[in-house]
C-alpha cells in the first residue's frame, strides 16, 4: 500500500494541485507543503518498514514478448533511501520555491510532484519495463520545469537535457525490448537467465546499451555534456533535486539492474572503475575553474558521483553500504548547497562567484549555514560524507592502492574547490554594488539546517542508513522468485557456495597470504614461544584467543563475501549455465 | 433483372473512386471533405452489399457496422467542418494548397 501510495499519490497530488489558485502562492503552497510532508513521512515509514513488495499486477503485453509486463513495486534498502531523498528534497524544493517564484508557484508544485512520482517509480520498480517507463518519465517534468522556471538560457538547457538523456536511454530501450522478447517476463531474474543463453558478443552489446543510459544519467565522463548547463540554468530547487535524487538513478541503475543482470567481465569492471575515477578527477578539476556557482556545484556533484560509480565497480563486500551512505550523504549535502546557492542568487542577483562575496557580513545567518553545509560536503569525519567516502576508499583499496590514491587526490581537490567556493561567496567584500534581494526565510533556513543535522547524525551513526540495507537478501530474492520464476531459486542457492572468481577474491587472497601467520601450527609455535618467555597460562590463552579471533574474522569476512552479494550470485548463475 | 451482389460492389467502387478523386483533385477544402464523405459512404454501401452474400447469421454484422460508421461519420463531419471553419478564419482561404505551413 505504501509503495503504491508513494508512486501514484504524487501524480494524484499533482492533479489536485491544479485545483488550487494560480494567483495566490500562499494558499497553494500550503497544500503543496502538506503533500510534501505526507510523502516524506511515507518514505520514512517505508525505510522503517523494511523490504516489501506489492502484488504483481499484469499491466500489458509487449509485442513479441513471452510474458507480460507487471506493475510490480519492490522496496529494498537502497531504493527506499533513494525515495527518501527524492521526497525530502522535493519538500525542501517546494519550501524554497515559494519565495523564489512569486507567481506560477502552483505550476511549479505540479511539476515537482510529477517528477517526484516518476523518481519514486524508478527507485521502486521491480519490473524492468516499468523501471524504464519511470526512468524516461522523469525527464519530462524536469525539462518542463527547466524550460518554464530556468535562467536566461533555459530553452536551450531544457532541450539539451531532454534530448541528451532520452537519446542516451534509447539504446537501452532497444536492448530491453530485445531482452524481454527472449525472457519469460521482464523481472530481473528472468532477464538474467535469458541473457546467459545469448552469445558473449550479444551480451556485450546489450550491456553497453544499458550502461550508456546510466552513464548519461549519472553523468559519467565523457557523457556529461548536458549536466553543467542543465544544473546551471535550472531553477536552484530543481537543480537540487536533479543532483540529489535524479542523478542517483544512474548509480542506482548500476547497482540494481546492471550488476544483477549482466555477467561482468574483469575488463568491464576495470573500465568502469577507472571511468568513475576519471570522472571524479575531471569533475574536481572543472570545479576548480568554474566561475558559475551552480556549475561549480554541478561539477562537484559529478566528482562525487564518479567516486560512487568507482565504488560500485570495486565490487567489494562493503560496496553496497559504502555507496549507499555516500549517495545519501551526497544527496543531502549537494542538495542543500544548491538550495543555498539559489538563495544566494536570489539575494545578490547573480550566481557568478567572482561577483559575489561578503555574504557572511551582509547576511550572517545565511553565511553560517552556507559555511556549515560546505564543511559537511568536505567529508570531514563525523559527517555522513566521511563515512561514505572512507568506506568507498576502503573498497577501492581492495582493488589496489592506485585507485585509492586517485580517490585520495580527489578528496584533496574537493577541499580546494569547495574552500575557493566558500571564500568567493561568503567571505571578503562583495565585488560589486547591488540591492539586497529577498533574504533566506526562517522556514528555508531551518529546513536546510535539518538536512545538515541529518548529515551529522548519519555521520556519527551510519547504522541508521546501513541497517535498512537488505537488498537482495535471501528472503527477498526468494520472494521475488516465487512470483514468476520458481526454477531460479535453487540455482541461486546452489551457486552461492561456489568459489568467487571476480577480482576482489584475488586481492583477498593476497591479504590472506600476508596474514598467513595465523594458522594452527603457527599458533602452537607461538604458544611455545610465549611459554619459553615466561608468560603465564592465562596470558597465553587470552593472547592466542585474541589472535584466533582476529584471523577468524578474516575468514568470516571471506565467507560473508560469498554470501553477501546476490549480484555475484546471479552473475555466477549465468556463468554456470 | 435480379440484383446481383456484384453490382452493388461495382457501384460502391465507382462511388469510392469518385470520392477519392474528388478529395485528391479538388482544391476547395469543402469539396475535399465531401469527397471523403462520399468515399466513406461507398464503403458503407459495400458493407451492406456483402451482408447480402453471407448466410443470415453472419450477415447481421454487415448491416450493423454501417450504422456505427454513419454515426462516426456524423461526428467526423462535425469536427471536420469545425476545423475547416477555424482554418478558414486563420488563412482567409478555402484553398487547400495554401495550407502548407507544415513544411520545414
Amino acid at each position: 500500500m505504501l509503495l503504491h501510495l508513494l508512486v501514484l499519490a504524487p501524480f494524484a497530488a499533482a492533479i489536485l494541485m491544479m485545483a488550487t489558485s494560480k494567483e495566490d502562492p500562499k494558499s497553494s503552497s500550503r497544500l503543496a507543503f502538506l503533500f510534501g510532508f505526507a510523502f516524506v513521512a511515507m518514505s520514512i515509514a517505508l525505510i522503517a518498514a523494511g523490504n516489501q513488495a506489492t502484488e504483481a499486477i499484469e499491466w500489458f503485453q509487449i509485442p513479441g514478448a513471452k510474458g507480460s509486463v507487471y506493475y510490480y513495486l519492490y522496496s529494498h534498502g537502497l531504493g527506499a533511501w533513494m525515495v527518501f531523498l527524492s521526497t525530502g528534497l522535493s519538500l525542501v524544493a517546494l519550501i524554497t520555491g515559494r519565495n523564489t517564484f512569486e507567481t506560477n508557484y502552483r505550476n511549479f508544485a505540479i511539476a515537482i510532484f510529477a517528477l517526484m512520482g516518476a523518481m519514486n517509480g524508478t527507485f521502486l520498480a521491480a519490473d524492468a519495463v516499468l523501471f524504464f517507463f519511470f526512468f524516461e518519465a522523469m525527464v519530462f517534468p524536469a525539462a518542463v520545469l527547466i524550460a518554464g522556471f530556468g535562467g536566461a538560457d533555459r530553452k536551450k538547457a531544457a532541450m539539451t537535457f531532454a534530448i541528451y538523456t532520452l537519446v542516451g536511454s534509447a539504446p537501452m530501450m532497444v536492448a530491453l525490448w530485445y531482452l524481454v522478447s527472449m525472457a519469460d517476463n521482464s523481472l530481473v531474474l528472468s532477464l538474467a537467465v535469458a541473457l546467459q543463453n545469448l552469445d558473449p558478443s550479444m551480451q556485450m552489446t546489450l550491456l553497453l546499451c544499458f550502461l550508456l543510459a546510466f552513464l548519461v544519467k549519472t553523468p559519467v565522463f565523457p557523457f556529461h555534456g548536458w549536466q553543467a548547463i542543465t544544473y546551471a540554468e535550472a531553477p536552484a530547487p530543481l537543480s537540487a533535486i536533479l543532483t540529489g535524487a535524479m542523478s542517483k538513478a544512474g548509480v542506482f541503475g548500476f547497482i540494481a539492474w546492471i550488476l544483477p543482470i549482466f555477467p561482468l567481465s574483469m575488463k568491464v569492471v576495470d573500465g568502469m572503475l577507472w571511468l568513475g575515477l576519471l570522472t571524479a578527477i575531471y569533475g574536481a578539476l572543472m570545479a576548480l575553474r568554474a566561475t558559475d556557482g551552480k556549475k561549480l556545484l554541478a561539477f562537484s556533484s559529478m566528482s562525487h558521483l564518479g567516486l560512487a560509480v568507482a565504488g560500485v565497480f570495486s565490487l567489494s563486500e562493503s560496496m553496497l553500504p559504502a555507496v549507499l551512505v555516500l549517495l545519501v550523504a551526497h544527496g543531502l549535502s549537494a542538495g542543500a548547497q544548491f538550495y543555498l546557492m539559489g538563495i544566494a542568487e536570489r539575494f545578490a542577483g547573480t550566481r557568478n562567484i567572482e561577483q559575489l562575496g561578503g555574504l557572511a557580513a551582509r547576511n550572517p545567518v545565511f553565511g553560517s549555514l552556507f559555511g556549515f553545509v560546505a564543511v559537511l560536503s568536505l567529508a570531514v569525519p563525523g559527517t555522513a560524507g566521511f563515512v561514505g567516502e572512507f568506506t568507498v576508499l576502503m573498497s577501492l583499496w581492495d582493488m589496489g592502492p592506485l585507485p585509492a590514491l586517485v580517490a585520495g587526490l580527489c578528496l584533496i581537490l574537493s577541499a580546494a574547490y569547495m574552500l575557493r567556493f566558500v571564500q568567493k561567496v561568503i567571505f571578503g567584500k562583495p565585488a560589486r554594488e547591488y540591492v539586497d534581494g529577498k533574504r533566506m526565510t526562517a522556514l528555508e533556513g531551518s529546513s536546510i539546517s535539518i538536512m545538515g543535522v541529518m548529515l551529522l547524525v548519519f555521520g556519527m551513526h551510519p547504522a541508521f542508513i546501513t541497517n535498512a540495507l537488505q537488498l537482495f537478501d535471501e528472503s527477498a530474492v526468494q520472494e521475488m522468485n516465487k512470483v514468476t520464476h520458481p526454477a531460479a531459486v535453487q540455482e541461486s542457492q546452489t551457486v552461492e557456495a561456489s568459489a568467487d572468481t571476480t577480482g576482489e577474491a584475488e586481492v583477498d587472497e593476497n591479504i590472506a597470504a600476508v596474514a598467513q601467520p595465523m594458522t594452527e601450527d603457527d599458533l602452537r609455535q607461538l604458544d611455545s614461544n610465549l611459554k619459553a618467555n615466561g608468560f603465564s597460562d592465562e596470558e597465553r590463552a587470552s593472547l592466542i584467543a585474541q589472535l584466533k579471533a582476529m584471523s577468524e574474522s578474516e575468514v568470516a569476512d571471506a565467507h560473508e563475501e560469498a554470501a553477501e552479494s546476490n549480484e555475484a550470485n546471479v552473475k555466477e548463475a549465468s556463468e554456470n549455465e | 433483372m435480379e440484383l446481383q451482389p456484384i453490382y452493388i460492389q461495382i457501384l460502391a467502387l465507382v462511388l469510392f473512386t469518385l470520392g477519392l478523386v474528388t478529395a485528391l483533385a479538388r482544391r476547395n477544402v469543402f469539396f475535399v471533405l465531401m469527397g471523403v464523405e462520399l468515399a466513406l459512404n461507398a464503403v458503407n454501401l459495400s458493407f451492406v452489399g456483402f451482408a447480402k452474400t453471407l448466410p443470415a447469421a453472419e450477415s447481421v454484422a454487415g448491416q450493423i457496422v454501417p450504422l456505427f460508421s454513419i454515426a462516426v461519420a456524423a461526428a467526423e463531419a462535425c469536427v471536420g467542418l469545425a476545423l475547416v471553419i477555424l482554418i478558414f478564419r486563420n488563412r482567409e482561404s478555402v484553398d487547400s494548397d495554401n495550407y502548407s505551413n507544415m513544411k520545414g
Partner: protein, 651 residues
C-alpha cells in the same frame, strides 16, 4: 572520583560549542551582540570543567589506564569501529595541558578579543577546537583519532580565517586546510594500509599493539614489515601535514593571520603537536620499522635547522614564533626518530608552556601597539609593559635551554638521546646543538628588537602603549611559571624521573624493543648539560653582538622599503615546490576545461547540428501541397498492398 565516565571530558567543550554557536547565530542579526562578560564566562567555564574532570581522572588513574567503549560507530562488512576512549599515561599528559592551557587561553582571549564583532563565534570555534583536540588524544582507535585530527584542522581553518572580511586571511586559511588535507589523506591511506593487514579491528590501538607483539613473539615481523613500513610512512605524511614538517611546513607561517590566542593555542601548544602524539601513540608499531624512524629523524633534523634559519630573517614577531614552533617540532620528531618517544612528549609538554607564553606575550605586545606586528617598529617596550616583558624573557630563557628552565631539561634530554640512540648519533647531536645556537640567536633578536633599545614606531602610537588587562596577564604569568618549572617533572641530571614513569606503560615497551637491537652509548649526562648551556649562551652572545649593538640602526633606516605582510616570504623554496604542484593542478584543470571539455562540447553540438541538417533535408519532403501529400500516401498504401500480395506477407 575515578568513576567519572571518560566521555564527560569532550562533552563539555561540545556543549560549549553548541551553546555559544547558538548564541552567536541568534545574536548575529542584532547590532550590539550578547554581553561579553556572560559569553566570556561561559566560554572559559566549559574548558575549565573539562580540565577539572581530567585532573580528577588523572589522580585516580590506574597504572594501565582506563578504557571505555561508548557505542558502535560504523558497522559495515569491512569496517567495524566503536567509539571508545583510552585514558592512559600519554593521553593524561596531553589532556592535562590541552584542557589546562586551553582554559587559560580562553581566559586570555576575553581580553584580547574585547569588542570584536565575532566575539561569541570566536569562542564557539575555540570550544569546538578543544572538543576535537580532546577526541584526538582521548580516542582509542585511529579512526576516531582521525575525527579529531580533521576536526582540529577544520577549527584551525575557521580560526585562521576568523577575520574573513580580509581575503588574505581566507587564503591563509585555505592554504592551511588544503595542505593539512594532503597530510590527512596520508593518514587515511595509512589506516587503509593497516586494515589490509588485520582488518578494521586493528585500527584500535590496543589491538594494534597486541598484533605487533604477536608478530614479534611469533617471529613473523619480517613478513609484515613491508606493509607496516608503508603504513608508517603514510602516517608520517599525516604528521608532517599537521605538525608542519618538511615538506608540508608552508602553511604554519601563513596561519599567523589568525588572532594571536589562536596561534598560541592551536599553532603552538596543542594542534601542531598532535603529529608527535600520534608517533608516540603508535610507538609500538614504529618500533618494528626502524627504517621509517630514520626518515622521521632526518626530516625532523632538516626541519629544525631549516626553520631556525628561516626564523632569523623574519620581521613579523608572530612569524618568528611560527618558525620557532616549526623548529621545535623538528626537535620533537628528531627525538621520536631516535626512539625517545617519551622525551619527545616531554618536549611537547614543556614547549606548550613556553611557546604559549611567548605567543600570549606577543599578543599582549600587539595589543599594546594596536595591531602592530612588525618588530622593526617596536623596541624599548620593557619600560611600558614590564610584566609582558618579564613573561617573554622567562619563556625566552626556557626556549633557548637556559639551565634550570623548562626547555633546558627537555631539549637536553632530546640531544642526549640523539647522541646515544640514533644511528650516526654524533652527527644528529651536533645538528641539534647547532640548531639550539641558532634558536638562541633568533629568539634573542626577537627579545632585543621588541623590548630593548629605543621605540621606533610612530609617535602618536607611543602614547597609547599600555599594559594588557588582568584577564590577559594572569594566564601569561601562569604560563611563565610553567615555562620555568615544568621541566622539573623530568630533571634527569637531578634524578627526578616522574614524567618518564608516567609515560612508561605506553612507550617503554616500544623503546626497549627498539633499543634492545642497537648498542646504546653511555656518556655522562653532565657533559650534555654543559654543551647545551654553552650553546644557549653562545647564541645569546651572538644575538647581542649583532642586534643589540650595531645592526639595529641600520634596520631602522631600511624599514620603510622592506616587504611585510602575510606573504610566505621565507619558507625557502618549499612554497615554490608547492607552487609547482598548484600550477600543475591548474594546468590540468585548464586542459580539462579549455581543451577536453571544449572537444566534448564540440562533438556534442556537431552531432546535434548533423541531426538538424538531416532533419531539414527530410522535411523538404513536406514542402508540397496537401493534395500531393495525400496522393503520395495513397500510392504508398497501394505499393504496400502490392508488395504484400506479391510476396505473400510482410514478414
Amino acid at each position: 572520583m575515578t568513576n567519572l565516565p571518560l566521555w564527560i571530558i569532550p562533552l563539555f567543550p561540545l556543549l560549549g560549542t553548541i551553546l555559544l554557536g547558538t548564541i552567536a547565530l541568534i545574536s548575529s542579526g542584532s547590532k550590539k551582540g550578547p554581553s561579553e562578560g556572560f559569553v566570556g564566562a561561559l566560554s572559559v567555564l566549559f574548558p575549565a570543567i573539562s580540565f577539572l574532570c581530567v585532573v580528577l581522572l588523572a589522580f585516580g588513574m590506574p597504572e594501565e589506564g582506563i578504557r571505555q567503549t561508548l557505542c558502535n560507530w560504523i558497522d559495515i562488512p569491512m569496517l567495524k569501529v566503536d567509539i571508545g576512549f583510552l585514558f592512559d599515561g600519554l593521553s593524561r599528559v596531553m589532556l592535562l595541558f590541552v584542557t589546562g592551557i586551553g582554559s587559560l587561553i580562553a581566559l586570555y582571549s576575553i581580553g584580547y578579543m574585547h569588542g570584536d564583532r565575532g566575539f561569541t563565534r570566536f569562542f564557539a570555534y575555540i570550544n569546538l577546537f578543544l572538543f576535537s583536540m580532546i577526541v584526538l588524544v582521548l580516542s582509542d582507535s585511529l579512526l576516531l583519532t582521525f575525527l579529531g585530527w580533521e576536526g582540529v584542522g577544520l577549527c584551525s581553518y575557521l580560526l585562521i580565517g576568523f577575520w574573513n572580511h580580509d581575503l588574505n586571511n581566507c587564503k591563509a586559511a585555505n592554504k592551511a586546510f588544503i595542505v593539512n588535507r594532503v597530510g590527512d589523506i596520508g593518514f587515511l591511506l595509512g589506516m587503509l594500509c593497516l586494515a589490509t593487514l588485520g582488518g578494521s579491528a586493528i585500527l584500535n590501538y590496543d589491538a594494534l599493539n597486541k598484533f605487533i607483539e604477536m608478530l614479534i613473539a611469533g617471529g613473523h615481523v619480517e613478513l609484515a614489515t613491508p606493509i607496516i613500513a608503508v603504513a608508517g610512512l603514510l602516517f608520517f605524511v599525516g604528521c608532517t601535514g599537521k605538525s608542519a614538517q618538511i615538506p608540508l611546513l608552508t602553511w604554519l607561517p601563513d596561519a599567523m593571520a589568525g588572532p594571536t590566542p589562536v596561534s598560541a593555542l592551536i599553532h603552538a601548544a596543542t594542534m601542531v603537536t598532535s603529529g608527535v602524539y600520534l608517533l608516540a601513540r603508535l610507538s609500538r608499531m614504529f618500533s618494528v620499522i626502524p627504517e621509517v624512524l630514520v626518515v622521521v629523524l632526518i626530516v625532523g633534523m632538516l626541519t629544525a635547522f631549516w626553520a631556525a634559519v628561516a626564523g632569523l630573517f623574519q620581521n613579523d614577531i608572530k612569524k618568528v614564533l611560527a618558525y620557532s614552533t616549526i623548529s621545535q617540532l623538528g626537535y620533537m620528531f628528531m627525538a621520536a626518530g631516535a626512539f625517545a618517544f617519551d622525551a619527545s612528549i616531554f618536549h611537547v609538554f614543556t614547549h606548550a608552556f613556553f611557546k604559549a607564553a611567548l605567543f600570549l606575550g606577543a599578543g599582549a605586545v600587539i595589543h599594546a601597539l594596536a595591531g602592530e606586528q612588525d618588530m622593526r617598529r617596536m623596541g624599548g617596550l620593557i619600560k611600558k609593559t614590564p610584566v609582558t616583558a618579564c613573561v617573554m624573557i622567562f619563556a625566552f630563557l626556557a626556549i633557548i635551554g637556559f639551565p634550570g628552565f623548562a626547555g633546558f631539561w627537555s631539549k637536553d634530554l632530546i640531544l642526549e638521546r640523539l647522541y646515544t640512540n640514533a644511528p650516526f648519533g654524533e652527527f644528529f647531536y651536533f645538528a641539534g646543538l647547532l640548531t639550539a645556537v641558532i634558536t638562541a640567536v633568533y629568539m634573542g633578536r626577537l627579545i632585543i628588537m621588541t623590548f630593548f633599545g629605543e621605540y621606533r614606531g610612530s609617535k602618536e602610537k607611543e602614547a597609547h602603549i599600555h599594559e594588557a588587562p588582568a584577564s590577559m596577564l594572569i594566564p601569561m604569568v601562569i604560563l611563565a611559571f610553567g615555562a620555568v618549572f615544568a621541566g622539573y617533572l623530568w630533571a634527569d641530571s637531578m634524578g627526578i624521573k616522574f614524567f618518564e614513569q608516567t609515560l612508561a606503560p605506553v612507550v617503554s615497551d616500544a623503546q626497549n624493543y627498539a633499543l634492545g637491537r642497537i648498542s646504546v652509548a653511555h656518556v655522562n649526562p653532565m657533559t650534555f648539560a654543559c654543551f647545551g648551556t654553552a650553546a644557549a649562551l653562545l647564541g645569546m652572545i651572538i644575538a647581542y653582538v649583532i642586534y643589540g649593538t650595531k645592526r639595529l640602526p641600520r634596520l631602522h633606516k631600511k624599514w620603510g622599503s622592506a616587504p611585510e605582510g602575510f606573504k610566505a616570504d621565507w619558507t625557502f623554496f618549499f612554497d615554490y615546490i608547492h607552487e609547482i604542484f598548484i600550477v600543475m593542478t591548474k594546468a590540468f584543470a585548464f586542459i580539462a576545461d579549455m581543451i577536453v571539455d571544449k572537444i566534448l562540447q564540440g562533438i556534442q553540438w556537431t552531432v546535434g547540428a548533423i541531426v538538424e541538417i538531416v532533419g531539414d533535408g527530410v522535411s523538404s519532403f513536406q514542402a508540397r501541397k496537401v493534395r500531393v501529400q495525400l496522393t503520395l500516401s495513397l500510392v504508398g498504401v497501394v505499393a504496400l498492398i502490392a508488395v504484400v500480395l506479391m510476396t505473400g506477407g510482410l514478414i
